[in-house]
Symmetry: C2
Subunit: 203 residues, 2 copies
DNA sequence: CTTGGCAGCTAATTTGAATTAGCTTACAAT
DNA sequence: ATTGTAAGCTAATTCAAATTAGCTGCCAAG
């Protein structure tokens, strides 16, 4: 990995832990293993580093969204997959989503950073909401719409079903961001949540 | 209101918007209507102001928790109230909780501040989790346990019911913290959530 | 009245973080 | 070989924010 990338990487780690305002360029440099003034060979200011992180992040997100079909209403293509989903598969899906958000090297640090900077400007608010609220909800809403039509689940409002399915995942995720030591506990209740979800939405 | 209190008040507002590290004592002073050095007649440092906010906050919380019985397992006292709760009452309860958290002058600013400082030290993590996750969940879990015994709702795992009821409220709350302009929309989906919750947990 | 101390002010002072200047080395291309 | 440039360093410089010093006016207790 090039120095220029390592700077972004270490800066992201620090911003995610302490927030932009509480991180000094000297700390970033030290983490990278160079002296502070050398940072300026790569970026013209601290803010510039932050912006570069944002840019990289946006481009990664677009790719990832395309890959996972989490962006558009492209779920129809997967209609066949969704036409039969067992309770166990729903559990695996929920835990998979949770674990990915919680442990993915990049996604996880980026989410924490956004958490700390979300009130600073409206671009960041929008980004946070899109990534962790609106997109997951609309994707899952489309999925549950399939599943109800397919007769796998009861015919209830799919938007609300998505909320019932996803909001607990989201809450447990933010809990584990704060207290990673509670992950095991979170996973247990998460599984109980999904099994009960599956039961109460039985057609 | 005394100057000493006004300092805490304005500081809290600023910390909630920008985060501790991005607020300058001069801004706090200006908001109060005095000069920065005068702050030091009341608090010995910026950090001291922050600590005072935390202290005040803790004491307020203890009082409020006692008042609302949101702390202990004191729900049993209210068993009679809970033995018959209609869907409309559940809606009112959920929206009431949401609106209180979102609009209460003090609670709201304090939550935003905690959001921005939550990763800084474990005391703040604990506090956040207790106030916005563990306590609401355990209170509602106790409530739903009542309601299932009373035959008002289906006999399912009350912890998970609490999660299903509260997690959407929590998620919509953090959404509105970021994007207050979406409150009306949040309230609509919140009501749909609770009505559907009530329906799927019909005994 | 007069005095003590609270709460404010202006004017330093200190501190420390961000950035710039200017030098050095390595190495790749001519 | 020479030269140009990328990427590092140390040593300034700048600048802003936190805090301290020391003065003033007010007013309440004696």
């Amino acid at each position: 990995m090039t120095t220029k990338q390592r700077i972004l990487d270490e800066a992201l780690t620090l911003f995610a832990e302490k927030g932009y305002g509480n991180v000094y360029v000297g700390q970033i440099a030290e983490a990278v293993g160079i002296k502070a003034p050398s940072l300026y060979k790569h970026y013209k200011s601290k803010q510039d580093i932050f912006n570069a992180i944002l840019d990289e992040m946006k481009s990664r997100y677009d790719k990832q969204a395309d890959a996972l079909n989490m962006n558009g209403s492209d779920v129809n293509a997967d209609a066949n997959i969704f036409s039969s989903v067992s309770e166990d598969e729903l559990v695996k899906m929920g835990i998979g989503l949770f674990s990915y958000f919680l442990h993915d090297e990049y996604v996880c640090r980026f989410r924490k950073m956004l958490t700390l900077e979300q009130f600073r400007d409206s671009e960041l608010s929008l980004l946070y909401t899109k990534q962790y609220v609106d997109n997951p909800l609309s994707y899952q809403s489309a999925m549950f719409a399939m599943l109800t039509v397919g007769g796998v689940l009861a015919k209830e409002d799919a938007d609300v079903m998505a909320l019932h399915f996803y909001a607990p995942i989201y809450m447990l995720l933010t809990l584990c961001d704060r207290q990673p030591e509670r992950e095991a506990e979170a996973l247990k209740i998460l599984e109980r949540h999904i099994r009960q979800f599956s039961k109460i939405y039985q057609p």
